[in-house]
Amino acid sequence: MTDMSQPPNNPIGQSLRRREDARFLTGAGQYTDDVVLPGQTYGVFLRSPYAHARIKSIDTSKAKAMPGVVAIFTGADMTGVGGLPCGWLITSKDGTPMKEPPHPVLAQGKARHVGDQVALVVADTYLQARDAAEAIEVDYEELTPVIDMSSAETIGSAVHDDVPNNVCYDWGHGDKAAVDAAFAKAAHVTSLTFHNNRLVPNAMEPRAANAHYTRHDDAYTLYLANQNPHVERLLMCAFVLGIPESKMRVIAPDVGGGFGSKIFLYAEETALIWASKRVGRPIKWTAERSESFLTDAHGRDHATTAELAMDAQGNFLAMRVKTLANMGAYLSTFASSVPTILYATLLAGQYKTPAIYCEVKAIFTNTTPVDAYRGAGRPEATYVVERLVETAARDMKMDPAQIRRQNFITTFPYATPVGLTYDTGDYAAHLDKAIKIADVAGFPARKAASAAKGKLRGLGYSCYIEACGLAPSNIAGALGARAGLFEAGEVRVHPTGTVTVFTGSHSHGQGHETTFAQVVAAKLGLPVENVEIVHGDTGRIPFGMGTYGSRSLSVGGTAIIKAVDKIIAKGKKIAAHLLEASDTDIDFENGEFKVKGTDKKLPFGAVALTAYVPHNYPLDKLEPGLNENAFYDPTNFTYPAGSYVCEVEVDPETGKTTVASFVAVDDFGNIVNPMIVSGQVHGGIAQGLGQAMMEGAVYDSGSGQLLNGSYMDYTMPRADDLPSFTVDHTVTPCTHNPLGVKGCGEAGAIGSPPAFINALTDALGVKDIAMPATAERVWRAANKIA
């Protein structure tokens, strides 16, 4: 543990207003589509209108002759270029590796989902590129699309010719024999079968890229709406295009939301980089929203049967889960890990269930690829656990809070039967607090008041846990990860004592420029204004893994702290020289280097200046300068957990469901900026309620067309669909990082869907209702109409 210095105005724990806001509020933000480069051209992708089709021929001759057209490329031009890689190897129960069929940058002979990219048109203007794309003639031979996961193995049509049964892998996790034995002696088994609906991430900024090859240095610059520019660069350079990483700079400037969808290496930016050298001019592409629907990796889409075995007192004995997970048409960058490593390992939830077994079969279909979306596997796991637990309480005629309480893990560290070791937590504390804030005691009276108006009222709980800061690298590697999971930070102290921090974490709404500055300012005893945060540019920052999985503060923040520790250690040596003391006698606190037991001291700025103007300096023993970097590989995940209480009111005549109140009590460990943390929770809850109430990609099972591929059709929460939320906290600090932080970005999206469905099923008096619980579904359930 690193000692946190506590200056008089310690910025840690303060709701400092965000420094990034001034530019966003005045229109001065710079997103990828805002960047216009000299000689700019525009790229438009021609996409397959069919879910599954053989491409018999492509005729670009007419299109190439159209005004302004610079070039047109098809898959035939890219033979010899590698496919997009998958970053996690999953091994099936029978020991065979997952199937990894090629994921071509531009379609090679076959289109595998509606929106699959078939050609890239480059023109002087966007409209010219669009016009030309429409003039390309493609002769398609339609094939039977594989849409429904349940029939994919037997349909007799293969998404990939070399995977005839469309099964990517068939994986198992846990002790099957122990689980089966526990079920055999159980007093009661609760079971549920449901679909965790497919979501479209819908970051408000569509994906965009601007690819620029420069001849003078034979190098590439890629502006990209992306969450992890180094990962992007590594995958594209090393695995697809064979470009030295030293010849590529990826800049992810202001990024308008990601929610996971901007983690991945996509075909579009890869094609643009490849083409930019061929046309010798920068090429910009910005997705239309309909393209985002068809090509941003989707989330969730699990079909699951889950069972919970209990003794007669409602003590959990074992859990058994069987899931079909939709991979879509290709393996996206981290797709394989989401329904396995990030899912089955979370099935213990907050409970001491002694035995758990989970089987996951991953299926290729002719749909958009599926990958990590806010929570990634953990929302699906939480939905399984918390729907089962609530249903079990009803089956056992027990209070749903009590059945949870009696099964809570209460001693830490705790090794679950699915491979994780929780370091700390106090689950009863946040459940108690949530129950109090939500006034659960007053619920019967509110229910009666609703009934008097002809409304149905219900209350539901959700006690989620998640694992953030995926780590450590060596263990993840043993589980199939093909990437490191560390983070990097560099702290550059300037001669005048101001500081620039370079972080491998990326901010696309999370406010790192503020929070990270608070952390560094606290450590160095500096005004927050003196600390600048730089992220999102491989030309400036050290090699980092970016932002996903609520890792930025716990992993990226720790890397920065380790670099700051090195700065302080070196500063002590400089100060010792100046103060004519031994460096072991120097303390650093509140921004000052002091000789222990004396009043001799130097401010941080004086030491910084001396480091760069080393006239009175131990040059024989110490390098000049004050510039340190650090890489941090966590020793364990962090385990945020919380208790949510949702109350709904249903109008049985219309099926309209109103969220009457939503209380979230989270344990994120220590909190650096409460305002920002609450904002993350609000947004997460909104996305989770979106999943539960209204969102869901709908594919036509015959044609494979995405039926709700625009904001006219795909419903997302708007302001009047949601209530104000009540957000509060309990704190058990993480035990293995110096800030004691756990991560807060995904919690709301993880915990809220089961809380809502538990409340809704309580109101309706039904065992289950499918997500999204649309007004029609609710109306049918309320009126018992199939």
Binding site: L25, D33, P206, V255, R289, G679, G683, S724
Partner: protein
């Protein structure tokens, strides 16, 4: 074929010659380099492109530039005066009414219109008034708070 248009944008006279199919938002972003106005959905659903035209909030992604012939347009860049944020902009910062910032310009322009139309809007009326703007980050909670803060006339504590 291109069509000449003249209009006023953020108080300045603008003349341009545009392809007839050019959208107002394309004129603003690409011809005038005012990139604070964003395109989020192309279908007038998300409101990221909201600007004021002749004092009314409009969605610039679903209007042709030529329809703004002679109009007076205010974009997010024109909302602050002499480097001082409009009270609605300051309220969004004070109340953390934004995260990624992409929907924010449109959200602020709509919010200004909302209070101009209904200065004493209730929370329910504010939420209803934001129907035409989608935010994926904030869950609207702090956007509503920001509009209420602006409504109250309170001064932000933070600089």
């Amino acid at each position: 074929m291109s069509i000449p248009i003249s209009l006023t944008v953020n108080g300045k006279a603008v003349q341009a010659s545009v392809d007839p199919r050019t959208l107002l938002v394309q004129l603003i972003r690409e011809h005038l380099q005012l990139t604070g106005t964003h395109v989020g959905c192309d279908t007038a659903q998300c409101g990221a492109c909201t600007v004021h035209m002749n004092g009314r909030a409009v969605k610039a992604c679903s209007m042709l530039a030529v329809q703004a012939q002679g109009a007076s347009i205010t974009t997010i860049e024109g909302l602050s005066q002499d480097g001082t944020m409009h009270p609605m902009q300051a309220a969004f910062r004070e109340c953390h009414g934004l995260q990624c910032g992409f929907c924010t310009p449109g959200m602020v322009m709509s919010a200004v219109q909302l209070l101009a139309d209904n200065p004493k809007a209730s929370e329910a009326e504010i939420r209803e008034g934001l129907e035409g703007n989608i935010c994926r980050c904030t869950g609207y909670h702090n956007i509503v708070k920001a509009i209420q803060f602006c409504q109250s006339g309170a001064q932000p504590a933070a600089a």
